[in-house]
């Protein structure tokens, strides 16, 4: 895979788009899970907590992707991998056993409730992050 290195401070359209989508999902998943936990948290606490976890992962990815340092790149990569594992594990569990969670989570059935964007997003994020590794590692460390 060829990699297109980025220098600190460089914000490409791809980065902006990823940040925008992650921000929308952080807001959507976070507000939905917060309302669910506040109004009917005892009905499906695990499902709503999982959605809250997903929202936190989206938030971390949003904040890390906004920055161009090596450290931010690593944090974003970690968040995106956690997100991918989450959507694959929870998605598979909910497909295998539909009764596992009393209510939907963001990652249920691979994010079907959100048009499968929760499945596509970490793959796109991972692909983009691996293609745009920061090159000025030493310079960033000094900074």
């Amino acid at each position: 895979m060829t990699s297109e290195p980025t220098t600190p401070g460089q914000t490409t359209t791809g980065r902006q788009v990823l940040v925008a989508v992650y921000a929308v999902f952080a807001i959507a998943a976070g507000s939905r899970s917060a309302v669910q936990l506040a109004t009917k948290g005892d009905e499906a606490p695990l499902a709503y907590t999982l959605s809250l976890v997903a929202a936190l992962v989206y938030l971390v990815a949003t904040l890390a992707l906004r920055r161009t340092s090596v450290r931010a790149h690593r944090i974003a990569l970690t968040a995106v991998v956690i997100e991918l594992v989450g959507v694959l594990v929870v998605g598979t569990l909910t497909v295998v056993d539909g009764e596992l969670f009393p209510d939907q989570t963001v990652w249920s059935a691979y994010g079907v409730g959100y048009g499968f964007v929760p499945l596509v997003l970490p793959i796109a994020g991972l692909w983009w992050l691996l293609r745009h590794r920061p090159v000025a590692e030493d310079a960033a460390r000094v900074r």
Binding site: T13, A20, V24, I27, A28, V35, A38
Partner: protein, 132 residues
């Protein structure tokens, strides 16, 4: 719409306005996409359109709250309030960009970011209408 009942008339009118606004926002999102791809000449117009849309959101949410006060609350008030907050906050949150490390003003957001922001708000306004 129920004749002779001002509260319900107001509610129905706000419903219609919300559906129209959602459609207009969807068209604006598509226009942003066109400006980003085949019609770069539209850029200035769609950027102004997004600013107007942001103003429209405050007007819409204000009208929605007035309609709420005039007659009956939504089926799920907490959820509806969440959509109202998202309607006014989403565009600024998504298109806001940090200043450069040396304090320079950031460049305007990519047109693709505007597509995402406006499309997301269109969905929020549609949900506002659906949860009325």
């Amino acid at each position: 719409m129920v004749g002779g009942n001002g509260g319900l008339d107001t509610l129905a009118a706000v419903d219609v306005v919300l559906w129209i606004a959602a459609a207009v926002l969807a068209v604006l999102a598509m226009s942003c996409g066109l400006a980003a791809t085949v019609a770069p000449g539209l850029e200035r117009g769609v950027r102004i359109g997004v600013e107007l849309a942001q103003g429209l959101m405050f007007v819409l949410v204000g009208a929605d709250l007035l309609a709420w006060a005039a007659g009956g609350s939504p089926e799920e008030p907490v959820v509806h309030v969440g959509y109202c907050v998202a309607a006014v906050a989403l565009i600024p949150l998504v298109i806001m960009r940090p200043k450069g490390e040396d304090g320079t003003e950031p460049e305007p957001s990519s047109l693709w970011v505007l597509v995402i922001a406006v499309a997301a708000v269109a969905v929020v306004v549609w949900r506002m209408a659906a949860t009325r």
